[in-house]
């Protein structure tokens, strides 16, 4: 729940509050519980990217994607890729962002998740490819 709240706060631009929530989550989360581990990294990556700490943000985002890729959680994996795409886009790596979005799109299509599929398609359409 904490990581979901963190995600929601970040999407609303309330980064400081999101960090406070993540600090609490960090204390109680299990190392093996893959869902919060992925989400925590993705949320932190978005926050760091907004602050301009792009290298650290990309490292965390890729870490999250790698963790999610070891699972068969399609939506979680797709969301981690969306976070990576967001970080890469802020870093100016549009191609990388588009690749992440395409990968996410495949996952959401496989899940047949209509809203996420549509949203990812929109993001992809808005991402200039070099």
């Amino acid at each position: 729940m904490g990581t979901l709240l963190g995600e929601t706060l970040v999407l609303q631009g309330r980064d400081d509050e999101a960090e406070d929530v993540l600090a609490i989550v960090d204390e109680v989360v299990l190392r093996d519980d893959v869902d919060p581990q992925v989400r925590m990294r993705s949320v932190r990556a978005r926050i760091l990217a907004r602050r301009g700490e792009l290298d650290a943000a990309e490292r965390l985002a890729r870490d999250a994607v790698a963790l999610a890729a070891r699972t068969d959680y399609l939506v979680l994996h797709g969301n981690a890729l969306l976070a990576l795409a967001d970080v890469l886009r802020r870093a100016g790596a549009e191609d990388g962002a588009a690749a992440a979005l395409r990968e996410a799109l495949a996952l959401f299509e496989r899940k047949e998740h209509v809203p996420l599929t549509e949203r990812t398609r929109a993001l992809l359409a808005a991402t200039p490819v070099g």
Binding site: D32, D35, K111, E112, V114, P115
Partner: protein, 759 residues
């Protein structure tokens, strides 16, 4: 060698009847081990060796025979029995107070107001690591009570304040109408009967005489009458039954003649001044004595006499019709103090003195409204400086005496009840019998005797009872039979699982906690569930403590404290293979559920789903509905998170869901389907419905359609006859059949089959 229980004589091995007195040597049919507090007397003849050398053998034998006969009579008079004679020594045991030259500290405390003692050097005794404190008895004050009540303690309580007025009204009526009235004040030992009478007597314009019934001994029938007559005095020229009762003349009399004579003596005394006759401990009164009181109450005329009888509620067992049918009889039950009254009493007794924080509260809880217990515990704490509330020997003796007077079957019920704990259930008591037997009659008697009182039950079946002063009973009743304790723990744990299934988490945690406390060998098995429950109830600190304890216990066995999710899965898979071979299906379901949950945590949603389905089916088959329901909840998560396409998610209708009481999760599942399809309004509605259903599910009250499921406590396996007959080695194929019945795409079947094959 068989020792006669009646006369103490030793008999031949195999003898069925005592050679000395003819009593049966067989143990009573209902005999079972009981813990009793007894006084053991051991004495021998001083200078017997010299006596033996000096006396003629036949003369010595005759002397010793007379000595043994006298000793046997003396012991019997005090309610004891001779255990054996060894040479010139006598060993006897009695269930009550002590007589002897040397006394231990507890005996001294019990008889402190009737004896004068002097300290002796502590004794080195066999079987005792430390020297035992002892006192030499100097004198015994014959008529003094062993333990004088401190009747100067403050009187508190709404009830206590009301009772004197009842007594005063009864007395005023007696005086106004010049009639006789029987007023019986019932109450448990220490509840304040004597204190109340003292308050009543204060400033009373009447002649007051007192007599006390004795619990044992020779010639006790008229003992209280004798005391009364001695106080009233007897006409010196009287040569009738009264003097016969007093033992002054050996005159043949009948009980009726004695009753008539006593009534006339009381009427004569009352003619001069209103008379209050206080009889204490009437529950010990012999039938003839009770007849005498009723005779006076029924037939006395034109004489203001108040017969004030103080008794424990047991009197009504011995004499159910006591006072009944009499217009001039009143019976009042004196109840324990309530919590506020007890606190007031403690404050007044402390008189400004401060106790360690929490200690007064512990005394209040332990005393359970009994003023005497409050006084004694407070005194004990002050004397010893202990921080914990301990049971003073005075109270132990009171309780032991009450327990000793119970019918064997009542005591048996109390023992079984106390195994479960302070709150116990008639169903548990019945289930702990072999074969199971109802105990309602005994429980009703115990309620009447104020040893238990009805309480709100925690279990769905049977009535609840609160064991008064439970932890003290536990000590007085002896150690609980470990086999019975384990059965009681299983009953509680099963009820806890049922409570959890119906969503009453608080009750479930209480029951599992009690089960874990009851039997150490079951504790480790129960702690994880208990921790889980507490966590689910939001009691995070308690949950952490419980789970830490479980981890520490496991660490003590296995040498490691934590394991990764993957390691848990591997271990659970190995365990599942073993359990499958053994046919341990209940445990197998639980282990599969553990593996499945960990699969989910580490990110293997599809595999988790398969394991959950299997565990769910199996759990449902064996009747472990909590596990079955838990599996359904996790299955929703595995479907939503995992690779199952949204379009296929609606295939999972969870037909068992409603039967298992997981309607909320069925709604949530549908909500996810709608959300994933972009139908947000429908999704929101489903989530709202699920939330509302979840609120209903937390309501512990039974609901119609689920009642039949909830009644089952999870102990009885729910299997069809066909499945019951299934041999363990066929479990594997049965599991495959289950899998085939389910509407799921089994992409991971080979893995499961491999495990089942032990590879």
């Amino acid at each position: 060698m068989a020792v006669c229980a009646v006369c103490g004589s030793e008999n031949r091995v195999g003898a069925r009847f005592c050679d000395a007195c003819g009593s049966s040597l067989a143990a009573p049919a209902d005999a079972h081990e009981q813990r009793k507090t007894v006084t053991v007397l051991f004495c021998d003849v001083v200078g017997s060796t010299a006596l033996g050398e000096a006396a003629d053998p036949e003369a010595l034998r005759a002397l010793l025979a007379r000595y043994f006969e006298r000793m046997r009579a003396i012991v019997a008079r005090h309610g004891g029995t001779v255990e054996k004679f060894v040479g010139d020594a006598v060993m006897a045991a009695a269930g009550g107070g002590a007589r002897g030259d040397l006394l231990g500290a507890e005996t001294r405390a019990l008889a402190r107001d009737a004896i004068v003692v002097e300290a002796v050097e502590p004794l080195e005794l066999r079987g005792k690591a430390q020297p035992v404190v002892a006192f030499r008895l100097v004198t015994v004050e014959r008529d003094a009570p062993g333990l004088a009540r401190h009747l100067d303690a403050p009187i508190v309580g709404r009830v206590h304040e009301r009772r004197p007025r009842l007594l005063e009204r009864a007395f005023a009526n007696v005086v106004r109408r010049r009639t006789c009235s029987l007023f019986t004040l019932l109450g448990a030992a220490g509840v304040g009967k004597s204190r109340l009478v003292r308050e009543f007597q204060r400033g009373l314009d009447a002649r007051i005489v007192r007599g006390r019934c004795l619990s044992y001994g020779e010639g006790i029938t008229y003992w209280p009458v004798v005391e009364i007559l001695k106080q009233l005095g007897v006409d010196p020229i009287d040569r009738g039954p009264v003097t016969a009762v007093l033992g002054e003349y050996d005159l043949p009399t009948t009980p009726e003649q004695i009753a008539l004579a006593v009534r006339r003596r009381l009427e004569a005394a009352a003619a001069e001044r209103p008379l209050v006759v206080v009889f204490d401990d009437v529950h010990w009164g012999e039938p003839t004595f009770l007849d005498l009181i009723e005779h006076v109450a029924d037939l006395s005329r034109d004489a203001p006499i108040l017969l004030l009888c103080l008794a424990r509620p047991e009197l009504l067992d011995r004499r159910p019709g006591w006072g009944g049918g009499k217009l001039n009889a009143t019976t009042v039950l004196l109840e324990p103090l309530d919590a506020v009254e007890t606190e007031t009493l403690i404050e007044r007794l402390l008189d400004g003195e401060q106790l360690e924080p929490g200690l007064a509260e512990r005394i209040r809880l332990a005393a359970e409204g009994n003023p005497l217990f409050v006084e004694e515990m407070l005194a004990m704490v002050r004397e010893s400086g202990e921080r914990e509330v301990v049971v003073p020997p005075t109270i132990k003796a009171l309780l032991a005496a009450r327990l000793d007077q119970l019918e064997p079957s009542e005591r048996w019920v109390l023992e079984r009840g106390s195994i479960e704990g302070q709150l116990f259930h008639s169903a548990s008591v019945a289930a702990l019998a072999t074969p199971p037997a109802p105990a309602e009659r005994q429980l009703a008697a115990l309620v009447r005797k104020e040893l238990v009182r009805p309480d709100r039950p925690q279990l769905p079946a049977g009535d609840g009872y609160h064991l008064e002063q439970a932890y003290r009973y536990r000590a007085e009743l002896g150690q609980a039979d470990p086999v019975l304790a384990e059965r009681a723990a299983e009953l509680l744990a099963a009820s806890g699982r049922t409570a959890r299934f119906r969503g009453d988490l608080r009750a479930a945690a209480a029951l599992l906690g009690r089960a874990a406390d009851l039997h150490p060998s079951r504790r480790l098995a129960l702690l994880p569930d208990l921790g889980d429950l507490l966590f689910e109830s939001g009691e995070i600190a308690q949950a952490t403590a419980v789970l830490d304890e479980a981890i520490a216990m496991v660490a003590g066995h296995a040498g490691e404290q934590t394991a990764s999710g993957e390691a848990v899965i591997e271990l659970a898979e190995q365990a599942a293979a073993v359990l499958e071979r053994l046919g341990e299906r209940v445990l197998l379901a639980r282990v599969l559920a553990i593996a499945a949950r960990n699969c989910f945590f580490v990110g293997h949603a599809q595999r988790s789903l398969e394991e959950l389905r299997e565990a769910c089916e199996l759990a449902f088959e064996v009747g472990d509905l909590y596990v079955a329901r838990d599996c359904v909840l996790w299955m929703v998560g595995a479907i939503v998170y995992g690779p199952t396409p949204v379009g296929e998610m609606s295939r999972f209708a969870f037909p068992e869901a409603l039967r298992l009481g997981v309607e909320p999760w069925g709604q949530f599942h549908e909500g996810f389907v709608h959300a994933g399809s972009g139908r947000f309004a429908e999704a929101r509605e489903r989530f709202h419905r699920g939330t509302a259903a979840r609120g209903r599910a937390r309501d512990p009250r039974p609901r119609g359609g689920l009642l039949d499921v909830r009644r089952r406590d999870g102990v009885e396996p729910r299997r069809s006859p066909r499945r019951r007959a299934r041999a363990p080695d066929r479990v594997r194929s049965a599991r495959r059949a289950r899998r085939d019945r389910l509407p799921l795409d089994d992409g991971h079947a080979p893995r499961r089959d491999a495990r089942a094959a032990g590879t």
